[in-house]
């Protein structure tokens, strides 16, 4: 199982004749995604990577029965592409395009809502449900089927975290990159809700960054609605206020949106925040171990090594993760591991001993914000 995209997902690529569109149409197809068509006005009737190209979304949907679209068109045309997808009846739209003006996003968002369509992005890497479907640009080689749902505002940082999970034998149900812009179609809460509902997802990794208050809102939501274990990571503790750190959304303004505030909010509801992406799997195993009697982790570990993209295994072990992740030590400090320094690859190989091995814990202060 998975969320938002699965084996039945039939994708139309908007902007399929462009450099990115054509390349990633090929990559998605190679991964096994049902790429049923592409759209580029004026290029209808041609083919790209064996995929039929149409002039309009309306035609593409009528001829292919697509239910999902992925957008690779330049920023000036991206919002138009979103409207076109909505009007063609598409319910899941993934916008990879970076640089879409916030004003345009504010206007199109109510239209999506009104029409019951979901937008993921813009400025995002898309989604991947291992062994089922990939919509976007995430590398298929780093994922592995399994019980963890991953949601993130970043791109490569997400890959880093996914890879760490995969190396430690923790596969994924679906990995979602929600995008680094200020106005995005799908936020943490939407994804948390979907993961909570999805029976295959036993635990959740949430990767946030500075700017806005989505992580704080997610923390409140988790406290109320999420019973599955959640591990978080927040990037940007060293980011100075007032400077945009690449992503349009990653800016500390007016003293809010700092990593310290977000970490504190998450810790407050009992969610451990990893100090490094490589610590995520360890924390996750701890939580999953605590929240379930029989630990699937042990089992999975056998297969833990640099995985190959084609392999399909794992994740079948039932890990009834029930108990709420909260309860554990809450409050101002939160223990995180600092000694997971061994290389992932090496670690993966001798993983037998690892989790039980000596691990030093250090308290990570969360209260001291305003570090500039």
């Amino acid at each position: 199982m998975s969320v938002f995209i699965n084996k039945k997902t039939k994708v139309v690529v908007q902007g399929i004749t462009g450099r990115d569109g054509s390349f990633h149409a090929g990559q998605m197809k190679a991964y096994g995604t049902k790429v049923v068509g592409g759209v580029t006005p004026g290029k209808g009737g041609t083919r790209v990577n064996g995929v039929p190209v149409f002039n309009t979304m309306e035609e593409a949907v009528a001829k292919t029965g697509a239910n999902t679209s992925v957008i690779y068109v330049p920023p000036a045309f991206a919002v138009d592409a979103i409207y076109e997808a909505v009007d063609a009846g598409i319910k899941t739209i993934v916008c990879i395009t970076e640089g879409v003006p916030a004003n345009d996003m504010m206007k199109v968002y109510p239209y999506l809502k009104k029409n019951g369509a979901r937008l993921v992005g813009p400025n995002c890497p898309g989604l991947i449900s291992p062994d089922e479907s990939k919509v976007g640009i995430m590398p298929g080689s780093i994922v592995k089927k399994g019980p963890v749902g991953v949601v993130s505002r970043s791109g490569t940082l997400t890959y880093e975290a996914i890879w760490a999970l995969t190396c430690e034998g923790l596969g994924q149900t679906t990995c979602i990159g929600i995008g680094g812009d200020q106005v995005i179609g799908t936020n943490f809460i939407d994804c948390l809700e979907a993961f909570q509902t999805d029976p295959a997802t036993k635990a959740i990794v949430m990767i946030g960054e500075i700017g806005g208050s989505d992580e704080e809102e997610a923390a409140r939501f988790i406290k109320k609605k999420v019973t599955k274990p959640v591990v978080a990571f927040i990037a940007g503790q060293t980011a100075p206020p007032g400077k945009r750190m690449g992503h349009a959304g990653a800016i500390i303004s007016g003293g809010t949106g700092t990593a310290a505030e977000k970490i504190a909010a998450l810790n407050k509801v009992g969610i451990p925040v990893a100090a490094s992406p490589t610590e995520i799997p360890g924390l996750m195993k701890e939580l999953m171990g605590r929240s379930t009697k029989k630990v699937a982790v042990k089992k999975v570990k056998k297969t833990a090594r640099k995985p190959t993209p084609k392999k399909k295994t794992g994740g079948k072990k039932k890990t009834a993760a029930r108990k709420p992740a909260a309860k554990k030590t809450t409050g101002k400090t939160r223990a995180t591991k600092t000694t997971r320094l061994t290389s992932l690859k090496k670690a993966a190989k001798k993983s037998k001993t690892k989790t039980t091995g000596a691990k030093k814990k250090t308290a990570r202060k969360t209260g001291k914000s305003k570090k500039a």
Partner: protein
């Protein structure tokens, strides 16, 4: 992107929002001449992209043109929060009866623009918000329907009693909202919006930030970019299509992806180092970008080691490796460089890097520790 107060006031004036008469000067003599033309007491206001100019001594009152000249001499060249003042706005000094605040920003949670007004203007509005939140009034505007006149009027009533002033303020709020959309602003702010002895309502100050993503369709605003007021390396980086922010440490960082770049910086700090910069080479890995990135980082004398962390997805590690080799040829760096390349074409990349014989590490944590170690040597 930020623009200066005088530029924002040009935009305000074009939209018929009342602003005090004034002009910008780059020399004391120019300031003198402007003050003479205005023929009234003036304010001499430093034009830098930073708040708190007044407190820093960058805004001064001048009784006459001679005084304006002296003050301009003082203020020009002044350092305000690390930024050198290169321009001053010489503008009519108004007699202030009341000061209020009007601002519009994007509210991320509701995905709507939010208009904020407060009768407690003229001071640090964030402090007002923190200490006396009841003095801040907010209106979330439907981005599709736009701002209605009655809504602007209701906000104006929070600021003034007199119906004449309410109408004037409502008109200003409507126009400000228009500007917000028309120039793809991410923030417009009047602090303070004043009433003077003549009963007029005037935007005494003006702040306007523009959404970088909207700049492509705002050529007139894009042309207002003051390269002089920005960090020269950040300018260079932007021209090279890199995202770069200068920091104070000694470990230069070259990373692909903003989130990973931040996480890398955080780890540098965590393991006891100080990052010298944020630098995201972006998704496509044109080798030329790596050269530009290295050049920018090497121009900072504080940098003692460079850390290159690439998680190859679309970015191909071999492209980055080629860039590193090219950078070594062109720049022959005098500080150690440590790399960690993983993902797409990682093997080929390390093959390519053999020619420059660099220390490498296999994980994010290890490359960071290695860089810190090398910087300490």
């Amino acid at each position: 992107m930020k623009i200066h107060e005088y530029q924002a006031k040009e935009i305000f004036a074009d939209a018929k929002i009342p602003v005090p008469a004034g002009e910008v000067a780059t020399t004391p003599v120019e300031a003198f001449e402007i003050a003479q033309r205005l023929n009234r007491p003036v304010m001499v206001k430093s034009q830098v992209h930073v708040g708190g100019r007044g407190k820093a001594g960058g805004i001064k009152y001048a009784e006459n043109a001679e005084a304006a000249k002296v003050l301009a001499h003082q203020i020009l060249g002044m350092d305000i929060k690390g930024l050198k003042v290169k321009k001053v706005l010489v503008t009519v000094a108004e007699d202030i009866i009341s000061e209020s605040y009007v601002g519009i920003i994007l509210d991320r949670a509701t995905k709507n623009p939010v208009i904020m007004v407060s009768p407690a203007g003229g001071v640090d509005i964030e402090e007002v918000a923190a200490k006396t939140p009841e003095k801040i009034f907010k209106l979330y505007v439907d981005p599709v329907e736009g701002l209605q006149a009655y809504q602007a009027r209701n906000l104006a009533y929070k600021l003034y009693r007199d119906i004449g002033q309410v109408r004037k303020a409502a008109d200003i709020i409507m126009k400000l909202y228009g500007i917000y959309w028309d120039v793809d602003a991410s923030l417009v702010e009047i602090n303070p919006l004043i009433t003077n002895t003549g009963g007029e309502v005037i935007a005494l100050d003006a702040k306007l930030n523009v959404d970088d993503n909207g700049l492509y369709r705002q050529p007139q605003v894009a042309a207002m970019r003051d390269l002089d007021a920005e960090d020269p390396y950040e300018v260079q980086a932007r021209e090279g299509d890199l995202s770069f922010v200068k920091l104070d440490g000694n470990i230069g960082c070259i990373v692909n992806g903003a989130g990973l770049a931040m996480a890398t910086m955080d780890l540098v700090k965590r393991y006891g180092g100080e990052p010298a910069n944020f630098l995201d080479i972006g998704g496509s890995s044109n080798p030329e970008k790596v050269v530009t990135a290295m050049r920018i980082i090497l121009s900072d004398p504080k940098v003692k080691a460079i850390l290159i962390n690439i998680f190859g997805g679309i970015t191909r590690c071999d492209d980055v490796a080629n860039g590193i080799v090219a950078a070594f040829k062109q720049l022959s760096p005098s500080v150690p460089v440590v790399v960690r390349l993983t993902g797409t074409n990682e093997k080929q990349a390390y093959e390519i890097l053999k020619s420059v014989n660099l220390p490498s590490a296999d994980t994010l944590d290890n490359v960071v520790k290695k860089a810190i170690e090398l910087a300490g040597e």
